[in-house]
Symmetry: C2
Subunit: 153 residues, 2 copies
Amino acid sequence: MLDIRDRRILETLQADATVPVADLADMVGLSVSACWRRIKALEEAGLIAARVALVDRRKANVGMTVFVGVRTSRHSIEWLEAFRKVMAEIPEIVEAYRLTGDMDYLLRIVVPGVEVYDAVYKQMISRLDFTDVTSFISMEELKYTTAIPLRYA
Amino acid sequence: MLDIRDRRILETLQADATVPVADLADMVGLSVSACWRRIKALEEAGLIAARVALVDRRKANVGMTVFVGVRTSRHSIEWLEAFRKVMAEIPEIVEAYRLTGDMDYLLRIVVPGVEVYDAVYKQMISRLDFTDVTSFISMEELKYTTAIPLRYA
DNA sequence: TGTGAAAACCTCGTAGT
DNA sequence: ACTACGAGGTTTTCACA
């Protein structure tokens, strides 16, 4: 169970990592150094994994999101490793999960439009065997956040 | 088309937003002030949407990811607005998309385990009408990145 | 924990190319 | 539009009480 002040620090930094330690200290009712040490500790502990800049998808011309469900009959470690490699090497693939149920993998892909999606698709099937590929195009992003709930931490 | 140096700045900041402007300037072969002005411009333009801290999911005790496919027969604006509200208010729901095809919506939910997922599920169906809800549990996260491809920007 | 001071960094003006 | 310099303010960082 995380300290309530640590939680509030994390909540704030999840929303905006540019807030100064002094402000954070005020918010949680701590001295600057105490607050700073807590942040350091949270970084050490790996709870804060990174501080990153989020780039606007549309402004970066990758406004289209496609979900791809994938199935394979090749259930070997080698295949998995090859798959992993392809995932890592294609930057348009931003998320990839191995699932339970009849869909083996689910990918989230961001592209400028269908033409590029097609190119990514072709690249994937040229490098890996799939028995089935189903794509779902996103019409609207209703929610996307990097902030995870902290009430269980 | 984005300048190659802007692209490299963004690429770097997408990976780590803590690198000092001076280092960034070295990397892209610019003076500190020129580099700083570019970053400012990228922020103004909204290309850099935010700088946030990423919290480790497992360490925050939300190691389980569930995808939920949802269908409804209620295709009214009111329903959409209600849906949107529920999405916004449940922090365990970190992503939500409206899709083409036979699945209407796809949600990504992070929870500590099945019990909490069940609670979230119940909360959802108590507040909204669905004709169908299918959940896929993630066994493994093969890739998750907030860094989007910049080659089209 | 808190105080405080040094170091690092950001921010931006100015001048020169 | 970029370089180079630099002042001034803010923020981080940490030694020590």
